[in-house]
Subunit: 231 residues, 2 copies
């Protein structure tokens, strides 16, 4: 008999975290790592065995992930990682642009020096990565830059909704053609946003941040769709 996987020790001291939460995070991790690609079927028994738990916490976690748009259930066939088609991806980009603009409008009046320094550091790092043409460095920094802006607003709800949309958008697996030039262009937009925030100009920040997301949308859809979706 296989010993239970070492999973139950997330918070050891007090009452341990419910298995459902652990499973939920693990599935999210697998999706983001690519171990669970869009369209792929989620085998409950298999996951249960691998995590050393029963199917109940698995199913509860999947129901949560269904609601957050990462999984979809088909009756008597189980749960599947959702596939985002171009139409829905476009809708998600529009949503994201509106939320990002809102973040800018809320952040500009209240941003302070310490926060600006953190952003400036990220901008420099991204420029360095762009000069090297190193997407593996640029991409996470880019995500972090956006997320940091959202966090600085102090609007918890806005951050959560934004993150949820980003996760879903991640299921739209069309790779944009990322060139050194595009990274530089993108970071130039970041610097314009930074300037508007530093100037504490809500209207400019909102406008630039909205445009920034819509430009990203354009770049994705201008890229010729690759033939890799079929499995």
């Amino acid at each position: 008999m296989n010993p239970p996987a070492v999973v139950r020790s997330a918070t050891s001291s007090a009452g341990r975290a419910p298995l459902t939460a652990i499973v939920r995070d693990e599935i999210i991790r697998m999706i983001e790592a690519g171990a669970l690609a869009p369209g792929v079927w989620v085998n409950e028994a298999d996951l249960a065995a691998r995590l050393g738990v029963s199917r109940a916490p698995i199913r509860e976690a999947c129901r949560g992930l269904e609601q957050s748009g990462l999984l979809s259930f088909v009756v008597n066939r189980g749960a599947f990682v959702r596939e985002i088609d171009p139409v829905e991806a476009a809708e998600l980009y529009d949503l994201r642009s509106a939320l990002f603009a809102l973040a800018g409008r809320e952040l500009a009046p209240v941003i302070h020096e310490k926060q600006l320094r953190i952003l400036a550091k990220l901008l420099d790092d991204m420029d360095a990565a762009a000069d090297d043409g190193d997407l593996d460095v640029y991409y996470p920094l880019n995500l972090l830059f956006h997320q940091t802006l959202l966090e600085f607003t102090g609007n918890r709800r806005l951050l959560l909704t934004y993150q949820s949309i980003i996760r879903e958008l991640h299921l739209f697996r069309r790779k944009a053609l990322v060139t050194r030039e595009r990274m530089s262009d993108s970071n130039a937009e970041h610097r314009a946003i930074y300037a508007a925030l530093r100037a504490k100009n809500p209207v400019a920040a909102a406008s630039l941040m909205e445009a920034h997301v819509l430009n990203a949308k354009k770049r994705i859809f201008q890229t010729i769709p690759s033939r890799e979706a079929a499995g």
Copy 2:
């Protein structure tokens, strides 16, 4: 006996809907009907007995509702209807205003005559209700008007996100002081929105719709908090 692949309708052939979905809808209904007030504990065994099912579908449904912000789980104590505090309510209003503005921006360029007539009818009905000072008629019409605008955009994702926020906001149970005058003011804003849409002016529509939600926010927070939450 191989039916064409297209008509795999979920209605008749494949038996009944999963219990989880039924339970989920029932809990939502109870919340909206006030049978489950914010802060109230959701008794799993009780619900299971009343609906004639086991606890498994109940728990799965609750996990979904947790993710959509209507319930919150406390370890070893179960699920509770969430309570929205003023801070979070304010955040939700801001989100809602951004989404409503986006709807206006997207709808204005594409709205057509048939849709405008439907809106005009709603406006007239709301004015009638406002003249009568009948909130019980005005309030549902008001909800319908907003939802219809979202539907007309054709942006499914936007509609879903908006509805989710509205549901959560419903958990912030502070009653605004609704007078005949306020209903008239509100509907005057509706008519301004209608005019901007009819003129196919995205900028004006977005701006008016954003302001409309922010005015509603103001009205809620100007109302003196009532002593009814505790219990």
